[in-house]
Subunit: 687 residues, 2 copies
């Protein structure tokens, strides 16, 4: 191919980007404003370029984002994108450390410099807005603020025109968004140069071409606005543009000034291991509004759930009904005997017998099936020191849920039920709005606030993605929002491939906890009719040791032991699930490569134990892991749950070895992982 | 997420596929016909399913393709897709071995079983067609044959309705196709589950979920028909449908019966290393129509080319004009001194000074620039034992090229010029047809036939993809059709990432040779103005040793030493380029992983030397390579061009070591590759 072709026609976005980076003409430009991170490495420049407000991001003097435009298109009003002028700016700095009630780390430092840029239209109606930038050492963020003003009172946002023009045709790990009729996040990941992306979901993790830095685009503090996707432009452009989930009428957001958008976040790291734990978004959410958080407690739980997915129980009534009094007592007793904090019961409430998916109004959130003794079970659970977790499947029937919510939550509180797993199994919600629209975001916030008033913790499935709500409402515990374990029960595509969780860790999990529901031991279960499973039938595509490792790798303050109790009883590996912590003092990602492997060490909060989880894709691997994170001078015992030497996710997933070894901070352990395997280690002080 | 949701709504294609695989109702079905590969492993089943003709592919009894429909939509006539009936079948078998005049292997075995299925419409107009299936041990193929008949005389194909319904949500390596205004193949690859694919190019290489087999979808014997792309359906379906490159009016193909489509090929392998060399497509093309092929000779060449890409020469006339008599003599002398067979000269002919891209009619293919002594240089080249390679950039001006072709080729022949590098720098060709439409396919065939008449070998850039034409016309030597070296000179996205060639080997190169133009030694060249290059400026993203390894890994019968002669003179690594063969007795892929690494050994044709090329992505690697492919009992010397221990594509790309070692068939060599590195080895008999 010819150079001249490239110059004139080819990769237009790239060519443009290149020339801008090299310094193109900036007629009529105002002096640029800059704000740098405390360590000086991340620098945002804000300036006018051809009448457009743009921001530019450098790290260590090297371009990360080329001039990227900012602005809005409104319905019923002209766009606020051209003919703008910067009228002033303000600066501030923060350095404070705050404590999480629970999390991947106990304490979080918020250290940033802020630049607020005031912008006005140069002609009528001379609308005004601000863009506020915050530069942290681990990334930058910005949001729009629309002050109250006569020319911009109530508004309808048709499009947010925010751009992210990458300096590099970086490699992105992505799931698509906004496809017709499939408004979901439960998908397998792809890997592409950014120039090929169509419309994708965030967090979007990118690695630049030189392996020199990693970039994660996401958002923070989403309260009354639609979820943001990112839309690619023509092939060969490195520009992504904010694409907001629509309301039925096509408009994206309605509001009144004063108004703030969510923060658009750009996390940066030199090493992939430095991406997690990600606290940028937490720092951009307001502090907790709950005065008493003593009732909020991370926990492990079991539940009546996997049985439905593998077809041996049903949500609906009938001979296989899972949520019977007897079955639930059985789970409560099992939980109590093994130190689990909670028991989830799905299918306990009426509504499951009809055509519930297309009809979210059929569910009662207070009325149990006749074979489920709600109050008796609540008493039984309390006596055993276990919490029942109420299941609230809405099927997207927001009105039905909101109508019953106060009464239901009051009932749960009276019964001592302190946690809800909610569900939103629907693509487009009633009224024709996107599953991720402003309507849905508002609903989730309303439920969360109501739950807080009743002392209830939330675990949301089919959620809007996590944008750090848990800082403000620490009862927002965990959520789904990605392909989890249940796909291994019934997915028509055979289940999650061995690489899946190694990608999740560096993508979905950067937004917040995920209720992935690990811990399936019965990997080779026969078909429900007792016959051996077909070679290409859906199944768990890991070893048992990897199932254990997921408890450490995939962070969630509610962590399920997902298999049936009978698959745990007497299984020596179950001891690890009994022992593993769910709340962490600190977290260290020791080794990682997106799509290939992750090794994570976490220290239990309020206890000295460390836990190490290592997972790999379909390739076997060995890691030399120095235990230098342990306290020096202390003696420890490592309880090691490892793949057997002949283990293999496909052919021999159950083969594992359990051993103990005395270790200190100067020990280096060799972790050998089978293809599709993992390793889980508890490191406790030697007694 | 809920099981019931999945059953009812989710992954509809998958769910359907699943139920079909499990044996859905087949009302009114005729008895299925099957054809198996000679080894019995690959079995195609053909049957009627709900009035549709479908084929099914199994390997070792396991589904590869679920029932996939066949048929056509016509313009001006009803579709030929429903209400069909199988009226008969014929079988035949072939087992023959044929010799290539040149190639990756000297001899190719064509061993297959054929099943021809006769199909008729059950109602008027009772059109008839055949689908011919061939089952080989390395894959299966089929094509449509439309016999001459009153109800189907001349026709316009609106769409070919061929489906490929994968049994598995396999992982695919892909480049997109048919984007607005970018009808190109020069792109970086992505990796996705097949359920996410939009429209993609072939060869499409897929790996199933269990790593149990690899599948490559492509086509063979494309003569008078558009190129085939593959279009994904709704998200979560594993079905891909043939998508033909359109003529301007939207219709895809025009023809008259009797008519045959190209073969649709499905290559299968258990190990990724078994995918190459790929001969399935060659076996599906007719034998050579050229009686004398003695004039067709693989060669290495140098040329006036890279200088334009890095901006130190121009195609156009002026002070930097590259194609001057003096400069060309310099290249001819360099070629002669170093054993190169050819010298490519771009920019020798008039037409480059105007706005040539939008205007393919400006080029003369006979008229040299005044500073280029065409006939004198031809004499000089002949005296030095070197062939000039004529450059014919058409800019898509097909008519202009076809008008001048006879005269030009006659001139070249008279001057002893026996090779042409042609170019088609344009997206949509004049008239508004796709770059890959039937018009373009016809043009390429016309040029190839004409070239054969004049004893001229072809190297086509911006081509239609290779479908095995070289078997029938062995003067069809090599072509571009992927992102090659020149992107490292000027690409706005920085150049090809280190993984690029490890993907090319298992995708683009499976279709046929590629004129990638390896051999850039001056990796750290300064900017044209002499300043050091910016950190994110385009550059070669390999070590020098990897540049050498590409001569072995990326097969082409014309292999360029792409750098400027001054960068080769006195460079010790240049000896490898002088030594490396370009025609092969046999080829063995020793190690491979798509996107990660490839190690290939090839034995020189007509000589006993072996060459080994090993390349890696951005990760350093070590390989233990037993030399068991050598003749036992013979003593050899391995000349090893390796990355230095501190080499690194980004920081230290030039560091290499050259060493010799005495080896035998029982030697195991350890190949250590730097990040972004490679290793090239010549193994010659010890003298």
């Amino acid at each position: 191919m010819k150079r001249r072709w490239m110059r004139r026609w080819g990769v237009c976005g790239l060519a443009l980007a290149w020339s801008l980076a090299a310094g193109c003409s900036r007629l009529g430009a105002q002096a640029p404003l800059t704000v740098a991170s405390p360590d000086g490495r991340n620098v945002v420049t804000v300036e006018m370029l051809d009448g457009h407000l743009v921001y530019i991001l450098h790290r260590d003097g090297r371009s990360v984002l080329l001039p990227s435009r900012l602005g809005f298109a409104f319905r019923g009003a002209p766009s606020l994108a051209e003919g703008l002028r910067i009228t002033g700016s303000e600066r501030s700095s923060v350095d404070e450390t705050w404590e999480q009630p629970w999390g991947e780390v106990a304490r979080v430092r918020d250290h940033h410099n802020e630049l607020s840029v005031a912008v006005v239209e140069m002609s009528e109606p001379r609308r005004r807005f601000h863009v506020v930038f915050r530069a942290f050492d681990d990334g930058v963020a910005f949001r729009y603020e629309l002050p109250e003003q006569p020319a911009l009172a109530s508004f309808e946002i048709q499009d947010e025109l925010t751009e992210f023009v990458f300096a590099d045709n970086a490699k992105a790990w992505w799931i698509p968004s906004d496809r017709p009729r499939l408004d979901r996040s439960e998908m397998l990941y792809s890997e592409s140069p950014v120039s090929v992306l169509d419309s994708v979901q965030t967090p979007l993790t990118l690695e630049d071409r030189d392996g020199g830095h990693f970039i994660v685009i996401h958002e923070a503090h989403l309260v009354d606005y639609p979820r943001m996707f990112l839309a690619g432009q023509a092939l060969e452009s490195t520009k992504l543009v904010a694409a907001l989930a629509p309301l039925a009428e096509g408009v994206k957001a309605r509001g009144r000034t004063p108004f703030q958008t969510p923060w658009r976040t750009i996390q940066l790291a030199d090493r992939v291991e430095d991406l997690a734990p990600s606290v940028l978004g937490l720092n951009l959410n307001p502090p907790s509004v709950l005065e008493d958080v003593g009732w909020i407690k991370p926990m492990k739980y079991v539940g009546i759930w996997w049985g439905m997915h593998i077809g041996v129980m049903t949500w609906a009534s009938g001979p296989l009904h899972g949520a019977t009094t007897q079955n639930t007592r059985h789970y409560i007793d099992f939980a109590s005997q093994n130190g689990f904090g909670g028991v989830l019961v799905e299918g306990w409430n009426t509504g499951w017998d009809g055509d519930w998916i297309a009809n979210g109004s059929v569910f009662s959130f207070t009325q149990p099936y006749p074979d489920y003794d709600l109050s008796g079970l609540a008493v039984h659970a309390r006596e055993r020191g276990v919490d029942l977790i109420a299941h609230n499947e809405t099927a997207g029937g927001l009105a039905n849920y909101e109508e019953q919510m106060e009464e239901a939550f009051a009932l749960y509180r009276s019964l001592g039920i302190r946690a809800i797993k909610s569900g939103y199994v629907v693509d487009t919600i009633p009224g024709g709005h996107s599953h991720y629209s402003q309507e849905m975001v508002r609903h989730h916030r309303k439920v969360l606030e109501t739950a807080a008033r009743y002392g209830i913790m939330m675990d949301v499935h089919e959620p809007v993605h996590d944008t750090g709500e848990r800082r403000t409402y620490p009862n927002m515990m965990t959520r789904e929002g990605a392909r989890g374990q249940e796909y291994n029960a019934w997915s028509g595509d055979g289940g999650n491939p061995p690489e899946h969780e190694t990608i999740l860790f560096f993508t979905r999990l950067l937004s917040g906890p995920m209720d992935f529901t690990p811990g399936i031991f019965d990997i080779l279960r026969p078909d429900p009719d007792g016959r051996p499973r077909a070679a290409d039938a859906p199944r768990v595509r890991t070893t048992v040791a990897k199932q254990l490792a997921l408890y450490v790798v995939l962070y969630s303050p509610f962590q399920m032991a997902a298999d049936l109790p009978e698959n745990y009883r007497g299984h020596p590996a179950f001891q690890f699930i009994r022992d593993v912590a769910v709340d962490w003092e600190q977290t260290r990602v020791l080794r990682g490569r997106i799509g290939d492997y992750v090794v994570v060490a976490r220290q239990e909060r309020g206890g000295g134990d460390w836990f190490v989880g290592a997972i790999t894709d379909e390739e076997g691997r060995a890691f030399e892991i120095p235990l230098s994170f342990l306290s020096s001078g202390e003696a420890y015992v490592a309880e090691i749950y490892a793949d057997a030497s002949d283990a293999h996710w496909l052919h021999n997933p159950l083969a594992m070895t359990i051993s103990q070894e005395r270790v200190t901070a100067s020990t280096t352990l060799t972790l050998r992982l089978a293809p599709g395997g993992g390793q889980a280690i508890r490191i406790r002080k030697a007694s």
